[in-house]
């Protein structure tokens, strides 16, 4: 090796290693957990034998599906849907097989939520009807609602219908309609008990072995107190295709009309074999089509069906709820009439309806005409009382709007206004009304700027406290502004508003509320530019400085998350400074968990360490530890982790004295927290030993070395490499202390990988002796310090594998590459 290594504490040349390591990005630039082991596994293909086959066998071992959920024994998973997972389980006590649906959204938290939940469940368990799957009860297990229902083996009604069509062609019509009528009977019964389903779709109607249709999952949406079926962070969309369009507005109140729409959509599916508004349609488009009632006639999909079927479906799926069947019974009655070949009652679209459609479909050539139509459309869906208020606005809208685009924006704002009003949020509504009034001011004249300008104007007002007295309203408006700005592509201000909103929501309702969850998903849909993340981070920190304690707690956690996403940036120093500041602020709010912040600080420090900036890296962690020590007793787990991080930073910086100090403390803390034999405690012992051995303090190193050996033996068994390496260390320490006989024994065990003493596998004695001599000489030659020094590595030669090197003891993987770089 070209470099000159000194077997002492701080190695300045060692920094060349750090620099070289930057080049080999795949291997050494990962953030290591301080005890990460091992190169890439070879997948068993390198070995001559069948190791690969063993691994292959292992990989396809079936996973035991069973388990325990509360007092229930899970037999298997039956299926999973958007809301949660369904299991087959055994009920305790009765031993009966039931279906458990564990709803995905946790957080049945406050007593109010639990009471509401119990009341809902009580209402649902009272539903008893041959076409409804009986709910036996519900529990809250680990803050998740778990619904217990009868176990019914069956298939979804759409599949049953498809099979019938495939088997009998058009002759299957009566059977299919019969199934549908059964489903209607179930839903009608529920309506008579004031229970609304809210989520009718084919997968929620099962046909059992006896051919009986059974509706399931009544009212679950209400149990969850969910708003609109949202696009989740992962991008999955719930089944919008069966949801009534008016139900997709925020603040919509579910009613029987929504269920009737759902049934209509199911009927469409059963008759035609496909969804009315198909899966190939993008979600936003889907909603629009539902609003316009745009879907292909059934007969165009499956010919030969009676035309009245079309009328029934169109009536049930009318975009205007008032135009639908008034009750499920009415729908079912019409279907029965169809079955009996009698005339149906589904009414033709009214004149007003047709007029609306006309305006929608045909541009009048002038934007003004379209504006008029647009305004009419807006007005047509609100009640007369609100209509009066908006009539005055309407004229102004029409006058001010220059393009359809801006009118749509303003109209959307109007719709939101109405929705908020309907929810009784008068303050929000008032604010939005003011915004609307401003929409017609001259400075907003350029329509494409309308949303953005309005949002900025409104944002300024709010930041100056316009809604400070009514925090709920402020949250609502901020959310709307955030969404508007997001849609306008202004990600940073959008993020700002949503962040403020979510922080306030966390303070008002807690992080386990549905409101919070909704906002969390909203904020995660903002795709932030890398360049902006740092600025957002700084803004969040500034907000945290001035926020109330409850808001601050949320924001500080968020900061840690953000910190991770902007690491590696130029702003490393700002990040770590900000995190430290956030830690200071946290100290005033003791009941937090600091795991995240600690981890982020470690990550931030590591960025320095790996670049060879050892002082900066260590300073960050040292300061954090100061803060922890000063605040006395918060979060002992994170505290212990932080001490360990400091130890690791010292070890990595080759500051072994400090390493010893920190790791000793860490051992203490973990022993108290988790016991002396816990893996974390032992891990710290191991690192402590490394530092001590590097310093040449062999006697002190021996006890932790032995502890580690005992732990490794428990976990790995005698013949493995790690054990051998540990024995090597122990042997070295013993040699240094002059305890030659014990040392030889350990070293022999190491060299022969524990095989000494087993007759069938004993090592050839002269060979072993020679190896032992080599090892001894090598160790003596470098004063028994275990480190990646040339004298030790050259001295060990073939036995070099005995060295388990601590981080930064590892020499650059490719010497030639490094030579080329430094030449």
């Amino acid at each position: 090796m070209r470099m000159c290594w000194r077997a002492s504490g701080v190695w300045s040349e060692g920094r060349e290693v750090g620099r070289a390591s930057r080049m080999d990005t795949t291997r050494l630039s990962q953030v290591p957990s301080p005890q990460s082991d091992g190169p890439d596994p070879a997948f068993g293909f390198d070995a001559a034998g069948d190791e690969w086959l063993d691994l292959a066998r292992r990989s396809v071992r079936p996973l035991d599906p069973s388990g325990v959920l509360g007092a229930y024994t899970i037999v298997r998973e039956i299926g999973r849907g958007g809301q949660g997972v369904v299991y087959e389980a055994v009920q305790p006590g009765t031993g009966r097989r039931v279906a458990l649906k564990r709803l995905g959204v946790g957080a049945m938290f406050g007593s109010r939520a639990r009471d509401r939940f119990s009341r809902e469940v009580a209402a649902l368990t009272r539903l008893s009807h041959p076409n409804i799957i009986h709910m036996l009860g519900a529990e809250i297990i680990d803050d998740h609602p778990v619904l217990v229902t009868e176990l019914v083996e069956g298939e979804a009604i759409d599949r049953a219908a498809d099979k019938a069509w495939a088997a009998s062609g058009l002759a299957a019509l009566p059977a299919v309609l019969d199934l549908f009528v059964q489903a209607c009977a179930g839903v009608a019964h529920a309506h008579s008990r004031a229970v609304i389903h809210r989520d009718i779709k084919p997968s929620n109607v099962l046909v059992d072995a006896a051919g009986v249709a059974r509706v399931l999952d009544f009212g679950i949406a209400k149990l969850l107190d969910r708003g609109t079926p949202a696009v989740t962070a992962t991008g999955f969309v719930g089944t919008l295709a069966y949801a009534a369009p008016e139900q997709l507005e925020r603040g919509a109140v579910p009613d029987t009309a929504g269920d009737i729409y759902g049934l209509g959509a199911v009927l469409y599916r059963l008759l035609s074999g496909r969804d009315a508004i198909g899966p190939e349609v993008a979600p936003a488009e889907l909603v629009d089509r539902a609003r316009r009632g745009e879907f292909p006639p059934i007969v165009s999909v499956r010919s030969g069906l009676p035309p009245d079927a079309e009328s029934i479906v169109r009536c049930a799926m009318s975009p205007d709820p008032a135009q639908r069947y008034p009750t499920v019974e009415a729908l079912a009655a019409d279907v029965l009439r169809l079955l009996a070949d009698k005339p149906v009652s589904a009414h033709a679209p009214s004149a007003l309806y047709r007029l609306r459609k006309f305006y929608r479909r045909h541009t009048l050539g002038t934007t003004l005409g379209l504006s008029l139509a647009g305004a009419i459309i807006v007005l047509s869906i609100i009640s007369t009382m609100q209509a009066a208020r908006l009539t005055a606005q309407r004229d102004r809208l029409i006058a001010a709007a220059e393009t359809e685009h801006s009118l749509r924006d303003a109209a959307e704002l109007a719709q939101r206004l109405i929705a908020e009003s309907a929810r009784g949020h008068q303050d929000t509504a008032k604010f939005l009304m003011e915004m609307l009034r401003n929409a017609v001011r001259p400075e907003f004249a350029r329509p494409e700027d309308l949303q953005r300008k309005l949002a900025v104007w409104a944002g300024n007002r709010i930041d100056n406290g316009a809604l400070a007295a009514t925090p709920e309203a402020e949250v609502s408006v901020r959310v709307i502004l955030g969404q508007m700005l997001r849609n306008a592509g202004e990600t940073r201000p959008a993020h700002q508003h949503l962040l403020a909103a979510i922080a306030q929501t966390a303070a008002l309702h807690g992080e386990n509320s549905p409101e919070f969850e909704y906002l969390r998903q909203e904020i995660s849909t903002i795709i932030v530019d890398e360049k902006e993340t740092a600025a957002i981070f700084a803004e969040a920190l500034a907000r945290a400085e001035n926020a109330s304690p409850a808001e601050r707690a949320y924001l500080l956690n968020r900061l840690s998350d953000m910190a991770r996403s902007i690491q590696g940036d130029l702003h490393g120093a700002e990040v770590s400074a900000a995190l430290l500041r956030s830690l200071e602020l946290s100290a005033a709010n003791p009941q937090g968990s600091y795991g995240k912040v600690v981890q982020s600080l470690y990550d931030a420090a590591w960025l320095h360490l790996r670049e060879g900036e050892y002082d900066q890296g260590r300073a960050i962690l040292a300061r954090a530890l100061e803060l922890f020590d000063a605040s006395g007793g918060i979060d002992p787990v994170s505290h212990a982790d932080l001490v360990t991080h400091n130890g690791f930073a010292a070890l990595y910086s080759l500051a072994d004295e400090d390493g010893v100090m920190h790791y000793r403390r860490a051992v203490d803390l973990f022993t108290r927290l988790r016991g002396p034999d816990d893996s974390k405690t032992i891990g710290c012992q191991a690192r402590l030993a490394v530092c001590l051995q590097r310093l040449g303090r062999h006697e002190e190193a021996l006890p932790p070395l032995r502890l580690r050996l005992a732990d490794l033996t428990r976990r790995h068994g005698a013949g493995t490499r790690v054990i051998a390496q540990q024995r090597f260390r122990i042997g070295a320490a013993l040699l240094a202390m002059g305890r030659d006989e014990e040392a030889h024994r350990e070293l022999m065990l190491a060299i022969s990988r524990g095989k000494i003493g087993t007759p069938s596998e004993s090592v050839d004695p002269p060979v072993a002796e020679a190896q032992l001599r080599t090892v001894r000489e090598a160790l003596r030659g470098c004063e028994y310090r275990i480190a990646a020094s040339p004298c030790l590595m050259n001295g060990l030669g073939d036995q070099g594998w005995l060295l388990d090197l601590a981080p930064r003891d590892v020499p650059p993987p490719n010497d030639d590459k490094r030579k080329a770089l430094t030449d």
Partner: protein
């Protein structure tokens, strides 16, 4: 900024990062769910808890991948994923439960000084994951007879028994297994390579 090579191959990760590709997300789920479930179960998590943790992981990934939190030049995807899982398990274990102080589940993983046992469990599961994927690929692309022989070996049959059952010589069985082995090795290498590639 990252430069694109002339022929940019679109990998699953890059499609997922795109954010608008719903199909990619579903595929991603399918591909990684098993690994996550098995790992969580190996750490002693119950069925329901594993479910929650996996939800958390995918949510973190959704945000993390889109905000470029994962950067292949900074480390391997499997390490990043492992960190996500560890964090998720710790988050899950320390979540406030109703009427309880935050509890640290003794069985769960905590980040910090690291836990070699958990890291080796992860390595094992990750290895198995790649085997499973490669085996699935092999099942679809190899010819029928070879697959049957391989399945027999997977099921634990000895070479002799397999030879008897299929009316082949032992040497022939060995040959088949060799071929399958080579295919698997190739495929796994490709998979591992692709895992860390975002572009081309």
């Amino acid at each position: 900024m990252r430069s694109l090579s002339a022929a940019t191959r679109v990998t699953l990760l890059s499609r997922v990062r795109d954010g608008s590709d719903v199909g990619a997300w579903e595929q991603f789920h399918l591909q990684y769910r098993d690994l996550l479930v098995r790992f969580c179960r190996s750490r002693g998590l119950q069925v329901a808890d594993a479910e929650d943790v996996i939800q958390l992981v995918f949510t973190k990934l959704a945000v993390g991948l889109r905000t470029f939190e994962y950067d292949p030049s900074r480390g391997r995807f499997r390490d990043y994923l492992y960190r996500c899982v560890r964090n998720a398990i710790a988050d899950h274990a320390s979540r406030p439960k109703c009427a309880q102080m935050p509890v640290v589940n003794g069985d769960s993983i905590e980040f910090g000084a690291g836990d070699t046992e958990s890291a080796s469990a992860w390595e094992r599961e990750w290895l198995d994951h790649h085997f499973r994927r490669a085996i699935a690929h092999v099942r679809e692309t190899c010819e029928h007879k070879s697959i049957e022989v391989f399945e027999a070996a997977l099921g634990g049959k000895s070479v002799r028994e397999t030879a008897l059952v299929f009316g082949m010589t032992e040497a022939a069985v060995y040959k088949v297994l060799q071929r399958v082995r080579d295919r698997l090795r190739e495929r796994i290498a490709e998979q591992v390579r692709d895992e860390d590639v975002l572009e081309g």
